[in-house]
């Protein structure tokens, strides 16, 4: 096994175990921190894929900004444990019939994924063996501000709407 494979296994395991910890353990504070660990693993994978811009943005924006926002809200609400079952009630989808249908659909979907992955040509080729990487941030920026100009501008409107929406939603009603 070369160093590439070792790094892939290491970072992939970090990402997977972090994601598993997010879902598996009950304390939301630890979930957020496990997700940050998972993001560091993903960032390492982006470095392996020779995309340093995405790797750095992953750490700065995701782990640094979005996850801190989550952590802030978790601590603000003092929700350090999962709520008890006092609100739980029998959902119509939890009856045996819908659950069996859902299990069949899940198995079918898994079979379909395996079928697609085994039948597609070219998946065994090593990533980056055939084409050179686009590594420089200059190239990323050039395409982002020319070909994707419209999408970039729409993004700014999306963020403005989200900002106004978040303020309106979280505001305390005076009545």
């Amino acid at each position: 096994m070369g160093s590439d494979q070792l790094l892939f296994v290491g970072f992939g395991a970090l990402a997977l175990l972090g994601a598993l910890a997010v879902v598996a353990q009950p304390n939301p504070v630890y979930s957020v921190i496990a997700l940050i660990v998972s993001f560091f693993g993903l960032s390492g994978l982006y470095v392996l894929l020779e995309s340093p811009f995405v790797a750095v943005v992953q750490i700065i924006i995701y782990a640094g900004a979005i996850m801190v926002l989550f952590l802030f809200v978790v601590m603000l609400l003092n929700a350090t444990r999962e709520d008890g079952s006092e609100w739980d009630r029998a959902h119509p989808y939890y009856r045996p019939g819908p659950m069996r249908l859902g299990a069949v659909l899940a198995v079918l979907f898994g079979v379909q994924m395996i079928w697609a992955l085994t039948r597609t040509v070219g998946l065994g080729v090593g990533v980056g063996e055939t084409r050179p990487a686009v590594e420089s941030v200059r190239d990323v920026g050039r395409v982002l501000f020319t070909d994707y100009m419209f999408a970039f501008e729409v993004t700014s409107i999306l963020i403005l709407a989200a900002m106004v929406g978040a303020v309106v939603l979280a505001r305390r009603r005076e009545e």
Binding site: L20, V23, L35, F70, A79, T155, L158
Partner: protein
């Protein structure tokens, strides 16, 4: 060199974990975190395919996905705070105002 299929399988596993989290957990904040896991699984696929094809578009779409994730986190957490104020609970089963 690592085959492309490894990245796709890893991304699929991450996406499955995120989906399981959305369906299994009883905490709105963990639900939002599971959605973030799913978005990141898709990001990994975009970057892997972009690297395979030698184009920059995969990285740029990742940038847009991150923007949408940030907007979603802001609005989602605003909703969580507003909901928590009314019910003092984060269990999604507690919110039934729109159910009949």
């Amino acid at each position: 060199m690592i085959p492309l299929s490894y990245y796709l399988v890893l991304s699929g596993a991450l996406f499955a974990i995120g989906t399981a989290g959305v369906f299994l957990r009883r905490n709105i904040i963990t639900l939002l975190l599971s959605v973030e896991i799913m978005l990141n699984a898709v990001n990994l696929t975009f970057v892997a395919f972009g690297r395979q094809q030698g184009v920059v578009d995969g990285q740029i779409i990742t940038f847009f996905v991150m923007t949408v994730a940030a907007a979603e986190a802001a609005v989602g957490l605003g909703l969580v705070i507003a909901l928590f104020r009314g019910r003092e609970s984060l269990n999604p089963e507690a919110f039934t105002a729109l159910k009949w």
